[in-house]
Amino acid sequence: MIRILGRAVIYAAVLALAALVAMPMYWLLVSAFKASDEIFTATPRWLPATLEWSNFARAWEGAAFGRYFFNSVVVALAILLLQLTTASLAAFALARRRFRGRGIILLAVIGALIIPIQVTFLANFVTLERFGWIDSYWALIAPFTASAFGTFLLRQAFLAVPEPLEDAARLDRCTGLAFLWHFLLPLSRPTVLAFTLVALVAHWNDYFWPLIVTNRDEIRTLPIGLAMFVTQEVTTDWNLLMAATLFVAAPMLIMFFFTQRYFIRSHMHAGLKR
């Protein structure tokens, strides 16, 4: 009896928390579809009377969202490609080759994990200014050429590939980069995917760094564009603001819902990393 009661209490607590967590996201979603006269009602409308799809078109034209969207895609994909390249090359050497200084290099990679951007941003801003790269794609992309996290994650995955496989591949003259491309990466697909998702989300959502290095509207990414739209817009058209917010949030949320298990996988590694 006490056990059943205990379970009921736990279930109720989880449900209450779920409601609290879901509420803002639900509010975001339904408000984006509300007509303007449904925004300020004495009692909030939990469901819109009609689905006002035109909100999205109006919001899209309210600022250069097309441009921001394009910039976000370019920047996130460029960073991802760079990081996958540098990380898999480095991870290959660190996991599968013996060479002098390997231990120290691995330590340097792991050490970089705990240097957050808030330590480096002032110096990197000055460096980029010297390069003349402020307000360009370079400024948004170059500082993220390497990923300590990705390198470490891929190294762990590459370590798990058995040694005899490499010997067998060598007999077939599949060595070096060919082995990396044809064996290590395909065999580590879940880890590669997990890292891809984590990196995409991190850089698509990133607000801090683009805020520092962009001043021109043509170069802004979605999060900055949205923040400008929200804070500069004196409007109280919250339905349009919510619609614009969905432009930023929806791509990653949709991706997350379809690829959850890979996200979870990335944390399995985090949990075991110690």
Binding site: I10, L17, A93, T120, K273
Partner: protein, 298 residues
């Protein structure tokens, strides 16, 4: 003859390249980390001893002047206090909530997968999106939060505009956004626990509460250490919500360290002074992280 020479040459080249190859492989990553992650550490410390601002566009050496100014600035104390409150609350709350949910959802629990997805969603949501919805929900005149307060017969609150409440609101949003991450970290750890030990304790008739404190919690210690370090570093980085929702206000009630650095660096363009704040902040972060690590590994 020539053929053998060719083969020998190939062999030598192959040997040389295979000895050099690993260095070539790590070079791109290492060069980038050196330029964008390690060099800035040195540069930051150096910058903090210089004046670099509108009146002095090239760095001039000022010694400890920036630090002297920082430690005598009355606002700095306020910012430190705000950051201490923010960190002191978000770290235990997000980790505690994450652990509690992981424990609840780890058992046969109806809808466990759905709950897991839901609790993790805020982690994937862009901070800008969360901040925008937050601005509306916590609007003191027509926000949803005050409507809900009204339903339970409470007067409205200036969630973001009252200096007694704003920091708590920012803390709440911070926890809302991050606890799902720790839930997943703990879920992963719980699934990796040795089931035999837990099973043995169950057969010995240990109560769930005792089982948790004497078996699960000690076994989770490395995970909790990892979570604590990550949560600490994350909480010191808090910036997005402050910049979008409160601009550090009202009257600096939500001015946190990174926002303070940003203000001086990119609103007042005093890079040298901002660097000094950053150096102090990172001294603090790493000192606390080291203490936490020592405590966990004692």
């Amino acid at each position: 003859m020539q053929d053998r020479g060719g083969a020998l040459g190939r062999l030598i080249r192959w040997r040389a390249s295979s000895r050099l190859a690993p260095y070539l492989y790590v070079l791109p990553a290492l060069a980038a980390l050196a330029l964008w992650n390690y060099y800035p550490l040195v540069f930051l410390v150096d910058l903090s001893f210089h004046r670099l601002d509108a009146t002095s566009p090239t760095p001039t050496w000022v010694g400890l002047e920036n630090y002297r100014e920082l430690f005598t600035a009355p606002l700095f104390g306020r910012v430190l206090r705000n950051t201490a409150i923010y960190t002191g609350l978000t770290v235990p709350l997000s980790i505690g909530l994450g652990l509690a949910l992981a424990l609840a959802l780890n058992r046969r629990f109806p809808g466990a997968r759905l709950f897991r997805t839901l609790f993790y969603t805020p982690v994937v949501l862009p901070t800008v999106a969360a901040a925008t919805v937050g601005l509306w929900i916590f609007n003191s005149n027509y926000g949803l939060a005050n409507y809900l307060l009204g339903l339970i017969g409470r007067p409205p609150i200036g969630w973001l505009t009252d200096s007694d409440h704003a920091l708590w609101t920012i803390v709440g949003i911070g926890v809302w956004k991050t606890f799902g991450y720790f839930m997943l970290v703990y879920l992963a750890a719980l699934q990796a626990l040795p089931q035999s030990v837990l099973e043995a304790a169950r057969l010995d008739g240990a109560r769930p509460w005792d089982r948790f404190w004497s078996i699960t919690w000690p076994l989770l210690r490395p995970t909790t250490w990892f979570a604590a370090v990550i949560a600490l570093i994350l909480s010191f980085q808090a910036f997005d919500f402050v910049n979008i929702m409160t601009q550090g206000g009202p009257s600096n009630a939500t001015n946190l360290l990174v926002f303070y650095i940003y203000q001086h660096g990119f609103q007042y363009f005093r890079l040298g002074f901002a660097a000094a704040i950053a150096v102090v902040m990172f001294g603090l972060v790493y000192a606390i992280t080291a203490l936490v690590s020592l405590w966990f590994n004692r």
